[in-house]
Amino acid sequence: MPKVTLLYFGSIRDITGLASEQTVAPATLEALHQELLLHYPSLQSAHYRYSVNETLITGDHQLADGDVIALLPPFAGG
């Protein structure tokens, strides 16, 4: 089971109450996503995408030791 870092940004941080955490994740991003929904039920109604190591991920993704996984709500720069 990979050890990963989770980063929470923008409005997601209000849900998690954390900026980041270290955790032992399941093997895939989809499985991690399901775990996060159980742990933070308010994520269910939130809008966000995932990045793994600073790259946006669409669809599922195999996780590896040391991965940095971020939950990114809609961007609003400028």
């Binding site: 980063l7 940004f9 409005s11 990045s51 961007f75 609003a76 720069g77 400028g78």
Partner: protein
């Protein structure tokens, strides 16, 4: 033309006149670029419910900002062959109404493509840069802009 002539800096708090001056005048020894086009974004005191915007609190994912900016630059330099430079300053943290939170500067020898390149760059930044903002209203309430 140096396609790597691009930079993005995240600035803690508002972008002051010194930072803007540095961007504009640091290249004054470069006598090859005749055209500079800039976008400066300021926080507006929009009259929201229940009270006006007093400030915006910006947060960013800095490592990803650098990577995304590299991708945007490659796209822009690829598309606008006359572009010779691209510099971006973006605030993080609190920026009050009237203060500057974004500076985008593009350069070219002549003004060919410079305005389109500037406009495209601003749109791409707003669409793709991993930055978030929360409006802080005068009554003490706040809300995320998404």
């Amino acid at each position: 033309m140096n396609k790597m002539n691009q930079t993005i800096k995240l600035i803690d708090g508002p972008i002051g006149n010194e930072a803007i001056n540095t961007e504009i005048f640091q290249t004054s020894e470069d006598t090859q670029n005749g055209a500079y086009a800039l976008f400066i974004g300021r926080v507006r005191a929009d009259d929201e419910e229940p009270s006006p915007v007093e400030a915006i609190e910006y947060s960013a994912y800095p490592e990803m900002v650098a990577i995304v900016m590299g991708e945007l630059s490659e796209e822009l330099f690829g598309h606008y062959s006359h572009l010779t430079g691209l510099r971006v300053l973006h605030s993080t943290g609190r920026v009050r109404a009237g203060e500057v939170s974004l500076l985008v500067m593009v350069t070219g020898r002549h003004r060919t493509q410079i305005f389109e390149a500037l406009s495209s760059c601003v749109e791409l930044i707003k669409d793709r840069l991993p930055v978030w903002k929360k409006e802080l209203l005068a009554d003490g309430s706040s809300r995320w802009i998404e």
